[in-house]
């Protein structure tokens, strides 16, 4: 007797589904493709990061998803609605915190929040209640009656994130949310975003900070020149594209180094190289057992270790492998295409 066929697995509820997304701008007679065919799915309840240099197309993608910019091609669904066909539905279900933030500086924090709430259809009483609630979450209490002009950068950012979630959106988009914040305020904002995720909000943000993508995001899409060049959890990406490195400086004569390096390479099934100042560098897949093997070999031969260190892979290694450039250097004036796309965004803004 054969069991009935299993039903197909229910599609994971996607908060954002993009396919073949394209957008180009005309700048000074030239067509610049800011987004050149992006496919992505963001699952409900995750913190998803678009990581890339300036001009990579991150902001343009976000502006398409938030209904601010019509795409030239492809499709985008956000919170269950088609961005192009039903922008009004999408707007009700999303929150957006732009790079500029957009708090009205001539008004008080409370006025900003109440207006935002009312525009999403909250009653005056509900808006007031929600405002008090967010004042607590974002530690804005005493500030709310003051003009936003008097806020510090970190305080204003907190208000702006609060503005984006007054109406409890299903999906929150943030464009470079921690740019310009000091480390303390960055860490606070990360905690608050994690809190929002815990409460069920899907978060989609752009960043050009490696550590932000690495530590805050559940999954990351690395974007360059309007394309997704790598996609996965930060750990997956780092493991797939780069490896741990172990460097040791053994207390042996230079002539003994190559043989020792060969032995260490065999012991860790890794590649080894010797630098001129007597350092052996091993590229290993998993550092913990490799480290044990290295010290096992060295102890067995009675070799003293002068120095040893373990290098962790970073998302920058991923970017470097894919583009030949370091993310830290990319997007500067020397990379013409990126600068052009940046200019296009400026014009579009």
């Amino acid at each position: 007797m054969s069991s009935p066929p299993l039903p197909p697995p229910a599609p994971a509820s996607a908060a954002v589904a993009i396919s073949g997304l394209r957008k180009s701008f005309r700048v000074a007679g030239q067509t610049i493709e800011a987004v050149s065919g992006i496919d992505l799915t963001v699952a409900a309840g995750e913190i998803f990061g678009l990581l890339g240099p300036n001009g990579a197309g991150k902001t343009t993608t976000l502006r398409i998803l938030t209904t601010l910019l019509p795409a030239d091609g492809g499709s985008a669904h956000v919170a269950g609605a088609d961005v192009l066909a039903e922008p009004a539905v999408v707007r009700r279900r999303i929150g957006y915190v732009s790079q500029l933030g957009g708090a009205d500086k001539s008004a008080t924090g409370r006025e900003n929040l109440l207006l935002a709430g009312r525009l999403y259809g909250l009653s005056a009483a509900d808006a007031t209640r929600r405002c008090d609630e967010l004042a607590e979450v974002f530690d804005l209490g005493q500030l709310l009656t003051r003009s936003v002009r008097t806020y510090s950068g970190g305080q204003r950012r907190r208000l702006e994130v609060a503005l984006g979630i007054m109406h409890r959106p299903r999906v929150l988009f943030l464009d470079e949310p921690t740019t310009g914040l000091d480390p303390q305020n960055r860490a606070n904002l990360w905690d608050q975003l994690r809190g929002l995720r815990a409460a069920g909000t899907t978060i989609c943000l752009t960043t050009h900070y490696l550590d932000e993508a690495d530590q805050l995001c559940d999954r990351v899409a690395i974007v360059d020149h309007g394309r997704v060049i790598a996609l996965g959890t930060p750990d997956q990406l780092k493991r797939r594209y780069s490896a741990d490195t172990i460097t040791v400086t053994p207390d042996v004569t230079a002539s003994a180094l190559p043989a020792l390096a060969g032995e260490l390479a065999d012991a860790t099934s890794a590649e080894a190289s010797v630098t001129e100042n007597g350092v052996i560098s091993l590229t290993v897949t998993d550092q913990t057992p490799a480290m044990a093997a290295v010290f096992g070999v060295l102890a067995g031969r009675g070799v003293n270790v002068l120095a040893a260190s373990v290098g962790q892979p970073s998302l920058d290694d991923v970017f470097l492998r894919e583009t030949g450039r370091s993310l830290r250097d990319a997007g500067g004036p020397e990379s013409g295409r990126a600068a052009g796309a940046d200019a296009a965004r400026e014009v579009a803004a």
């Binding site: 009004a88 957009g102 006025e111 009312r118």
Partner: protein, 253 residues
């Protein structure tokens, strides 16, 4: 209903913004008062001359000043729009489900208040110096000029959204201000001028507002000039509101 609520919310926001800038309230009141104090005396010698019936210099001049106040109250709308573009305020508001027309009307209604309050003050002062008050005409006059303010305000917002630069907006507004006001016969009636000037005046929509305003101020409500004035201002306001709404829809794409 939602639309009315949203318009009210945006109006409230803009009104608060203005009340926090007392300098605008002060200049909004002093500029027309200065016209009365410094320009009206020049006209005294024209009393009884062409275009100025004896004892009625102010009856001809005050409607013109009110048109200027209405024009000025509306044409300033574009500056804060550019500031709101630059600071991301508009982008944030555009991501909300709020109506773009409501967003535009918030500013338009604020500007109408910024015309009406100084306008009433000027009228009251002028009455003390011999401007004749015709209540029905005056009520319609303020209604007519509210349409002019709406047209100017929506146009200025649209220009701000399209030009996106303070410099560009300033060049356009100051560039059109002089020919528009001179060719409307605001300070001196065009009937004083040669035929070609009067023909040019007829091509200027503001001319019809000024003609209707003078008729209304004189208490002549049911005249052709008044009908034409309302027709031209109504059409202009509708066109400008449509354009401004479109600009809000497209400004950031």
């Amino acid at each position: 209903m939602t639309f009315a609520v949203q318009t009210g919310l945006f109006f409230h926001r803009k009104l608060l913004e203005t009340l926090r800038q007392p300098v605008w309230i002060i200049t909004g009141l002093t500029t027309p008062a200065l016209y009365l104090a410094l320009f009206a005396p020049l006209l005294r010698s024209l009393d009884g001359g062409p275009a100025f019936p004896p004892g009625q210099v102010l009856d001809v001049f005050v409607p013109g000043v009110l048109v200027l106040v209405a024009f000025g109250a509306g044409m300033g709308a574009g500056w804060p729009v550019i500031w709101e573009l630059d600071t991301g305020v508009l982008e944030r508001l555009r991501v909300t489900p709020a109506s773009r027309l409501a967003l535009l009307l918030g500013t338009v209604l604020r500007d109408i208040v910024m015309f009406a309050v100084p306008g009433l003050v000027v009228t009251a002062i002028a009455a003390g110096f011999g401007f004749h008050l015709h209540w029905a005409g005056l009520a319609l006059l303020f209604l007519l000029l509210a349409l002019l303010t709406a047209a100017c305000s929506a146009t200025s917002s649209a220009l701000g959204l399209i030009l996106k630069q303070i410099g560009g907006l300033a060049a356009v507004v100051t560039g059109v201000q002089l020919p528009l006001t001179l060719l409307a016969g605001i300070l001196l009636p065009l009937s004083l001028g040669p035929a070609w000037l009067r023909v040019l005046g007829h091509l200027n929509p503001m001319y019809y507002a000024v003609q209707a305003a003078r008729s209304l101020a004189a208490g002549s409500v049911a005249t052709g000039a008044v009908g034409l004035g309302f027709l031209v201002m109504g059409a202009l306001a509708a066109l400008a509101l449509w354009w401004g709404t479109r600009a809000y829809q497209q400004a950031m794409t």
